[in-house]
């Protein structure tokens, strides 16, 4: 099989990826062109440049994956490009309404994030190597989470949450990267202690419950969630952290007791947090009755509902909505901007893309060829899915609204970077398992193969 055959007409995952990526880029460029046309009836050069840039980025991403993870799942990258591309279209839509220039910045961030993904795939040949830095990762997670509280670099409370640091005039959300280090730490910890944690020593009603000391990770997770809620005033991230920990504990041990106790702890925790923190009570009050104060407290939620309600089934059409009325239109509320202009149909389409990506994530977790990889893939997928749920559910009043980005779609460099790193890890895990199934001998990274020093055989797990 020649290289050219493999590039476009082959049957392997990369050939599928190439075709799907082409489709994704075509769809996004078409949407961008339609947007430009509906606004000024002219082919907009800015939109076209973004389209060309996205195509170039897609080519680079594809080549990078082809070189570094040739057997990885072929659907992941096209789905990500579709989300990222629609994100660019709707950020540009918001730009047209507000006069900002966020789409150009987001295009640059996309290039940077895809570059980071390529580098991660290039240098991270063996994901289990990360497991060795278990405690470093745990510490890094806590440091990253607490960084915004460190006064010299803290950017203070922005939009009601303390999530940002500012270094050399650049703002960054360390919490986005903390999600990844947390999952890696937990995967390593659970892989080593899972047998201990799954030994039931007590009976609580119909359930077998692990010894109290083995509940420690759950308690730590709850504690961290509480600290995030109280210190960072970020309810959304707290739910994210807690949900991810519970899901990983459950998958690692197979004990139903963890989700059940976790659920109880969540209810009790919610109650305590509700009692203790005024900003949480405010969010709940807005959720329960958004119509009490439509001009102030519940302005964002109500404007989101107005946008979706006005959009209806088919939407107002690209360029005919009013993103200027929606607070945080390019960041938190970008889903609503899409929902207003593309209607229920478009919003459902976006949901389906997210769902397909999540399903690929679970598939990668299932087929991973060691437990550490399984737990990493699962944890990252659950984090990704929960983040999507928390922000879309918040904007549609299914759950209390908390400000958090919609992965790959919202404007934001930290978020894009972190999410592309998640994809790098998923692709690496996918490539590992498929290569093993295929019996591929060559190292995953052919470019580094000549100079790479051998790591030795992967540490066998005790399973």
């Amino acid at each position: 099989m020649t290289t050219a055959d493999r590039l476009a007409f082959g049957q392997g995952p990369r050939a599928i990826e190439a075709r799907l990526l082409t489709g994704a880029v075509v769809v996004v460029v078409a949407a961008g062109t339609l947007l430009g046309w509906s606004v000024d009836r002219d082919l907009p050069p800015a939109g076209l440049i973004t389209g060309i840039a996205l195509a170039a980025i897609a080519v680079v991403a594809h080549v990078a994956v082809r070189a570094t993870a040739p057997d990885a799942d072929g659907a992941v990258l096209p789905l990500v490009m579709l989300l990222n591309g629609f994100g660019l279209v709707f950020i540009r839509r918001v730009d047209l309404a507000t006069g900002d220039g966020l789409a150009a910045a987001q295009t640059v961030w996309t290039a940077v994030a895809v570059g980071a993904m390529g580098l991660a795939l290039l240098f991270l040949r063996d994901i289990r190597a990360l497991g060795r830095y278990q405690y470093t990762l745990g510490l890094a997670t806590i440091v990253l989470l607490l960084l915004p509280l460190f006064e010299p670099i803290s950017a203070g409370v922005i939009n009601g949450a303390r999530l940002w640091v500012e270094v050399f005039g650049m703002r960054f959300q360390p919490g986005e990267v903390a999600k990844i280090t947390m999952v890696l730490f937990l995967a390593a910890y659970l892989e080593r202690n899972r047998q201990l944690l799954s030994v039931a020593t007590q009976r609580l009603g119909p359930m077998l419950v692990p010894a109290a000391r083995h509940l420690a990770p759950l308690l730590v997770a709850a504690g961290v969630a509480l600290v995030i809620t109280a210190g960072l005033r970020d309810l959304g991230s707290a739910i994210l952290v807690f949900g991810t920990v519970v899901a990983m504990l459950y998958v690692a041990t197979g004990r139903v007791a963890y989700p059940v106790l976790g659920g109880l702890a969540f209810i009790v925790g919610t109650f305590v947090v509700y009692q203790r923190f005024a900003h949480v009570r405010r969010r709940f009050a807005i959720w329960i009755d958004p119509w009490a104060d439509v001009q102030d407290a519940s302005y964002q939620l109500v404007q989101s509902l107005f946008a979706l309600g006005t959009g209806g089934l088919t939407g107002t059409g690209l360029g005919f909505g009013r993103p200027q009325d929606i607070p945080f239109a390019a960041t938190d509320a970008v889903f609503v901007v899409a929902g207003e202009e593309l209607g229920l149909l478009g919003a459902t389409g976006l949901l389906i893309i997210f769902l397909l990506l999540v399903v690929r994530g679970f598939r990668i977790a299932q087929t991973a060829h060691d437990e550490f990889s399984t737990l990493v893939a699962l944890g990252l997928t659950v984090t990704f899915a929960l983040q999507t749920f928390v922000i879309i559910g918040g904007l549609t009043r299914l759950v209390p609204l908390t400000g958090i980005t919609l992965p790959f779609v919202s404007y934001g460099g930290s978020s894009l970077l972190a999410n592309y790193l998640i994809i790098a890890l998923l692709l690496r895990i996918s490539d590992d398992s498929r290569a093993a199934a295929k019996g591929r001998k060559e190292p995953a990274n052919r470019w580094l193969a000549a100079t790479d020093t051998p790591h030795g055989p992967p540490r066998e797990t005790s399973a």
């Binding site: 899901a247 459950y250 998958v251 690692a252 197979g254 439509v294 001009q295 109500v302 509902l305 107005f306 979706l308 309600g309 006005t310 959009g311 209806g312 089934l313 088919t314 939407g315 107002t316 059409g317 005919f320 009013r322 009325d325 929902g339 209607g343 229920l344 919003a347 459902t348 949901l351 997210f354 769902l355 999540v358 399903v359 679970f362 977790a365 299932q366 437990e371 399984t374 699962l378 659950v382 899915a385 929960l386 749920f389 879309i392 559910g393 549609t396 009043r397 299914l398």
Partner: protein
């Protein structure tokens, strides 16, 4: 691990399912409520994308939409704002709409705005659509004359065409400028609104349609009508006494200014009307009885909502009047309340052979190309339904002659215009209890020839401000202009096809 992963995946799938169901509820079930919610600016912005039709008086737009460079594409302006403010109303971002802007909104926008465009096609269709023009029956010269005649005085003037019910002028003072209220700057709107609300002379109240006043002696038109309908004749004689000793009460009714009306012997019905003789009319009311009085008032439209393009407060007279209340009601006191528009309608009916006409201010609706969409909503008005004329043609003719003599040699002499037949009835109504110092409300209700009816209401500044002294000269100023313009328009109408 496979099973547990599947279960986690199932939970996540459930969460996405909940998102999908919830999205359906918002975009399908709740869509209408959300799209039409008053706090949803989308509806309003879309409405401002319509080139709203003008409101036209004579040849000129008194309310028109001009294109802007801003987000709201059209600005509503009122070139002669205060003069027509109570008719046009305002068209405001903050306060929504009032007056005709509210009443004929659907015509002005060209379609009901409550049905929101929900898809691309509809929306593209609204982009450059223009609304219909609403042409009024108002004559700008008469309206201007009404404004000038009232000057700084508070009050209201309504001028009608007795034959059609068309409103030729309707002016209420103090008035306001609708332009700042229709500004695209919300803070300017609120500032202007607060200033208007802070004033204690209530400039936002339309005294012609929405303010009730006691009619005082102007109500004697209705009492006289009831008497004539019951077989009395204008020359019938009554005792001319300084006081009428009202049965069942110690409170006597005297004449205005005290004393007798004429010689102190006897006085005819027409002279009692001409001189506005309280003792005669109070006794006549009691003799006719409350039922007859109320029935006649209702045939003139009391206690019934007046059909009109703008909301009008209904004039009222209580049903269960005892004898003292009947006596006081017969001279337009106690609980009898009327609007200026309604009094003009009664004068119009008397000129029009006893037939009440439905008042209307919209002459026609025209589409942007100038074509006629529909005409006026005129015609007869029977209240109560099926009652026929308010009074017989004969009674109407007798009342008309009596009203002419009021102006020729009675209390309304200051309304006289040489060479023109002018009739009317004055009124000076006490607003408080007898003996208190509240200034009265001065009235002149009447007509010139067969083609102009008028009502002038002037809440007085001092106790000496009588209808004959204050309201009659104002009415004369307006009637003079009205007669002149009616001559011009009538000759125009006969000499060729009428042009709008």
């Amino acid at each position: 691990m496979n099973t547990t992963i599947k279960r986690v995946a199932a939970v996540v799938l459930g969460l996405f399912g909940a998102l999908f169901i919830n999205l359906n509820i918002i975009t399908l079930l709740q869509a209408d409520d959300l799209a039409n919610h008053p706090a949803n600016r989308r509806l309003m912005v879309r409405e401002y994308e319509i080139a709203r039709g003008p409101i036209v008086v004579g040849e000129h737009a008194i309310a028109l939409s001009t294109p802007t460079e801003g987000e709201l594409r059209y600005l509503r302006t009122y070139p002669e704002g205060p003069r027509y403010a109570h008719l046009t109303g305002y068209y405001s971002l903050v306060l929504q709409r009032s007056g005709l802007e509210a009443a004929v909104n659907e015509q002005l926008t060209g379609r009901p705005t409550e049905v929101v465009a929900q898809n691309l096609g509809d929306l593209l269709g609204t982009r450059d659509r223009a609304g219909n023009a609403v042409v009024l029956t108002i004559d700008p010269r008469i309206q201007a004359a009404a404004e000038a005649a009232l000057g700084d005085r508070q009050g209201a003037i309504v001028v009608l065409d007795p034959q059609t019910g068309a409103v030729l002028a309707s002016y209420s003072n103090p008035t306001f400028d609708p332009n700042p209220l229709s500004s695209h700057d919300p803070s300017a709107v609120v500032r202007s609104w607060d200033e208007l609300l802070a004033r204690d002379d209530n400039p936002l109240v339309d005294r012609a349609l929405r303010e009730l006043y006691p009619p005082g002696s102007a109500f004697k038109m209705i009492v006289a009508a009831a008497a004539l309908e019951h077989g009395m004749i204008p020359t019938q004689l009554f005792a001319d006494q300084p006081f009428y000793d009202v049965p069942q009460t110690t409170a006597d009714i005297g004449n205005y200014g005290g004393g007798v009306c004429a010689t102190g012997q006897t006085i005819s019905l027409e002279d009692a009307f001409r001189l506005s003789c309280n003792t005669v009319f109070a006794r006549m009311g009691v003799d006719l009885g409350a039922d007859a009085l109320v029935a006649q008032a209702e045939r003139f439209g009391f206690n019934f909502p007046v059909p009109f393009e703008l909301p009008v407060v209904a004039s009222s007279i209580p049903h269960d009047l005892d004898v003292p209340a009947t006596a006081q009601s017969a001279i337009g006191q106690r609980d009898v309340r009327v609007t200026t528009l309604h009094m003009a309608m009664i004068a119009a009916a008397i000129v029009n052979g006893g037939e009440m006409m439905r008042p209307h201010v919209v002459d026609s609706i025209r589409n942007p190309e100038g074509g006629r969409v529909r005409g006026s909503m005129g015609g007869r008005w029977e209240a109560p339904p099926g009652v026929g004329r308010a009074v017989s043609a004969r009674t109407a003719q007798q009342l008309r002659r009596m009203m002419v003599s009021v102006v020729e040699s009675g209390t309304g002499s200051r309304a006289r215009i040489p060479g023109i037949e002018v009739g009317g009835k004055t009124g000076t109504a006490q607003t408080g209890l007898t003996g208190t110092e509240n200034p009265p409300v001065a009235w002149f209700v009447g007509f010139a020839r067969h083609d102009v009816a008028i009502a002038v209401t002037v809440p007085g500044n001092s106790a000496r401000d009588t209808g004959g002294l204050v309201a009659a000269p104002i009415a004369r100023d307006v009637l003079e202009v009205a007669v002149a313009t009616r001559n011009a328009s009538t000759s125009g109408r006969t000499s060729g096809p009428s042009t709008p």
